[in-house]
């Protein structure tokens, strides 16, 4: 469980996040939705201490993350970003196996983790393990990046616009696949996206942010059927019926 208590983040006078209190449940994928500058990435990055709160606190399984050593904390949390963020000079296998390597796992354990997680994201280890990121398509890079986030079997996974660099068709295939995967693995996932169409398909819960404030937090159905704020309505856009249909299909 991830809990925010009055979390505020200010950078040189600018408020990136204003007094957010919320709780994101264990084993659930929550999509953080908002325009750029809404504070959604800041909210995500508070969990693994890439950002520190100016005031308030962030609790992971009931413990204030500020008390944890940042390096140990991050090794226990999966992390994937837009475009994948794979290290270009390493093979897919070395990228996926990097956190197990940092954790000092044996070679056998690392190889097992790499094969297992590549299979989870449907990349055939025999075909992909020895390739470099430059030899992968955009979708394959993103899959490899998610395999890397899962390799050390973390309970919590943070995804920052994981589908942002992909075309619409690929995005749809992957968002459905990811939701099934994370549900099956019972991971606690925070998934940042600016796209409400992605959020209603990928998330079991949606948290909507605007100007650093958390406006609404609920199931996709609640958000689509009863938007609590004008800014939420604006994010739903003109195709609300399309979103409503997507909610029906996914549930």
């Amino acid at each position: 469980m991830i809990r925010y208590e009055n979390a505020t983040v200010s950078y040189s006078g600018h408020r990136a996040l204003a007094d957010v209190t919320a709780e994101f449940g264990t084993g659930i994928t929550t999509c953080l939705v908002g325009a750029s500058g809404s504070g959604k990435s800041t909210l995500l990055r508070l969990v693994n201490r890439l950002v520190e709160p100016t005031s308030g606190r962030v609790l992971l399984h009931g413990e204030d993350v500020a008390r944890r050593d940042p390096v140990a904390l991050r090794r226990g949390i999966g992390y994937s970003v837009q475009g994948g963020g794979l290290l270009p000079h390493l093979t897919v296998a070395d990228n996926v196996g990097i956190v197990p390597r940092l954790l000092g796992w044996t070679r056998e354990a690392r190889e097992e983790a790499v094969s297992r997680t590549l299979a989870l994201v449907r990349l055939d280890p025999a075909r992909y393990a020895r390739r470099h990121p430059s030899e992968l398509s955009g979708g394959e890079r993103q899959r490899a990046s998610i395999a890397r986030a899962l390799a050390a079997d973390p309970e919590v996974v943070l995804l920052d616009e994981p589908l942002g660099a992909l075309d619409a068709h690929l995005r749809e295939t992957l968002q459905e696949e990811l939701r099934e995967l994370f549900r099956r693995l019972r991971k606690t996932v925070l998934f940042v996206t600016h796209d409400m169409r992605v959020a209603v398909r990928a998330g079991e819960r949606i948290a909507v942010l605007d100007g650093g404030r958390l406006l609404q937090h609920g199931t996709p159905r609640e958000i689509v059927e009863a938007p609590a704020h004008d800014a939420v309505l604006a994010l739903l856009g003109r195709r609300r019926d399309e979103l409503a249909r997507a909610v029906e299909e996914s549930s």
Partner: protein, 210 residues
């Protein structure tokens, strides 16, 4: 010219060896000092302009003048191999320091962020992200300083450190064109071979890093 080579090939080889020794030792020392110092500067970026400025100033001092100044200093100066290596080391240091700094500073902040997000310590970031990404720039710096040092090492002859400069200056003094040529040609060849070899390495490294 061929006659000169046949007669004096042992001497030419000995001086080429000396030339390589002077260049190699000073480059090695410059790497040993410059690489960690360059990394340190990326962690204390406010100090960087001062250090880079100081080493750049050293490089503007003409090599003969630098050796002249070193004549006056104890331990690192005087006559012989030691002041020659000191001077060449100072020349190489600037290029190596600058390339290590520039290489690491130019690494994509997004990749550094990912490394940190995966739970790397500062040392692990350096090992798995920053140094491998900066490597083509580092090798470019090493190439430039190698060529520079091989050229400047000819002047080391002035303070009695030997090297191929011996043949050049002795030949000029005696008006012996063959002797000058057998000093200048191997020195040029060393610089060209170093340049081509390190350029090839640079290309190979750059390919997988885009």
């Amino acid at each position: 010219m061929i006659a000169f080579f046949l007669r004096d090939r042992a001497e030419i080889l000995r001086l080429t060896g000396q030339h390589l020794f002077l260049s190699g030792v000073s480059l090695g020392l410059a790497l040993l000092v410059g690489a960690p110092l360059g990394v340190l500067l990326t962690r204390r970026r406010r100090l960087a302009p001062w250090f880079l400025g100081a080493t750049a100033t050293i490089q503007t001092v003409p090599s003969v003048a630098l050796l002249g100044l070193l004549l006056l200093l104890p331990v690192i100066g005087g006559i012989g191999v030691r002041p020659a290596i000191t001077a060449l080391f100072l020349y190489a240091l600037m290029t190596i320091l600058e390339s290590v700094y520039a290489g690491i500073v130019s690494v994509s902040p997004a990749l550094v962020d990912v490394g940190r997000g995966l739970g790397m310590t500062e040392l692990e970031l350096l090992r798995y992200v920053e140094l491998p990404q900066a490597l083509p720039v580092l090798v470019a710096g090493l190439r430039m300083s190698t060529v520079l040092v091989i050229g400047a090492a000819t002047v080391a002859s002035y303070v009695g450190a030997g090297g191929l400069g011996d043949l050049i200056f002795r030949g000029v003094g005696r008006g012996d064109a063959d002797m000058v040529a057998w000093g200048a040609l191997p020195a040029t060849a060393l610089a060209v071979v170093a340049h081509l070899g390190l350029t090839a390495l640079e290309r190979r490294l750059a390919r997988r890093r885009a």
